[in-house]
């Protein structure tokens, strides 16, 4: 199955890139924008048919490597 992991800075941790993007959007006159966060997306295929097992594996990948849980949150999406 295909795995999509989204990693972003935790709420409460200042996101300087998000702030800069927000300013740029405002300068384009999009004044209705708020809470801009810049994150990263990691996409890969996982040779695993058991969803529960896949979720457990990817959670461990996130905790150990893909995210730094001191400053980042992660969200996992499994796509069949």
């Amino acid at each position: 199955m295909k795995i999509v992991v989204n990693v972003s800075l935790k709420a409460g941790v200042l996101d300087s890139q998000g702030k800069a993007v927000h300013h740029a959007l405002e300068s384009l006159h999009f004044n209705n924008v708020s809470n801009v966060r810049v994150g990263k997306q990691i996409v890969f295929n996982l040779d695993e048919s058991d969803e529960k097992k896949a979720m457990a594996d990817v959670t461990r990948m996130c905790e150990d490597l893909l995210a730094n849980t001191v400053i980042e949150d992660y969200a996992i999406e499994l796509i069949k």
Binding site: L9, V13, L14, S16, Q17, A20, L65, L66, N68, V70, I71
Partner: protein, 224 residues
């Protein structure tokens, strides 16, 4: 006195660090990251600066899984002295040997310049040649030097005298180049045998090159 300096793919401060410690009279060895052990006569292990693994994913994130890091963790847990400079600091936080994390600089710019630092706690081997409140002039060169730790973690750092250095101006007043929590430039672990800082003391060894304030800092390690 033997100083062992780690080298990952992308490390680029190992020879400066070697030169700095040798000029103070230490023996040195550069250790490639594939090594699965730390030499038994190591007195100080330095994780040198640079861009290990091109800073891919996050600074220091991939380096923490290099073969040598298990040995480094074992060495640190058994009381061995470890110093992480710049990327080395990032590697040590990623590896969980130091608290907190390093984020992208607030300005989003790479900063490369001399900066003043104030000694906050000298009750450790790294800074014992200096006095609390002393101001030193040491170069910084980083993109991800914005130190972050949550409120509880910060409280703990202060309670255990783990805050080593803070960014300041020439007079010692607070001056924050990168957005670090409380202008923190360097910390140590609770046991005070693992040290990390973003500034480069190994680049402050010659007055001719702007400052020799790094000598007193690195000398602290050499008397043990």
């Amino acid at each position: 006195m033997k100083v062992v300096i780690l080298q990952f793919p992308g490390t680029n401060c190992e020879y400066d660090t070697q030169h700095a410690f040798e000029s103070l009279g230490a023996k040195t060895e550069i250790l490639w990251h594939k090594s699965e052990s730390v030499p038994s006569d190591t007195d100080l292990l330095v994780v040198a600066g640079g861009f290990s693994y091109g800073d891919y994913l996050r600074s220091g994130a991939i380096a923490k899984f290099s073969p040598v890091m298990q040995a480094v963790t074992k060495y640190a847990k058994s009381g061995g002295k470890v110093l992480g400079i710049c990327n080395g600091f990032q590697v040590l936080t990623e590896a969980g040997l130091l608290p907190g994390a390093l984020k992208r600089n607030d300005s989003l710019h790479f900063l490369s310049k001399h900066h003043h630092l104030k000694v906050v706690n000298n009750d450790n081997i790294f800074l014992e040649k200096l006095c609390n409140g002393d101001v030193v002039n040491v170069p910084i060169a980083h993109h991800d030097g914005n130190y972050y730790i949550d409120e509880n973690g910060l409280k703990e750092l202060y309670e255990n005298n783990q805050v080593l250095l803070k960014y300041c101006d020439e007079e010692g007043n607070d001056k924050n180049p990168n957005g670090s929590v409380d202008s923190i430039a360097g910390v140590c672990n609770k046991e005070k045998n693992v040290f990390g800082l973003m500034p480069h003391p190994e680049r402050a060894m010659e007055k001719l090159l702007g400052s020799d304030n790094g000598i007193k800092m690195l000398q602290g390690f050499l008397q043990a």
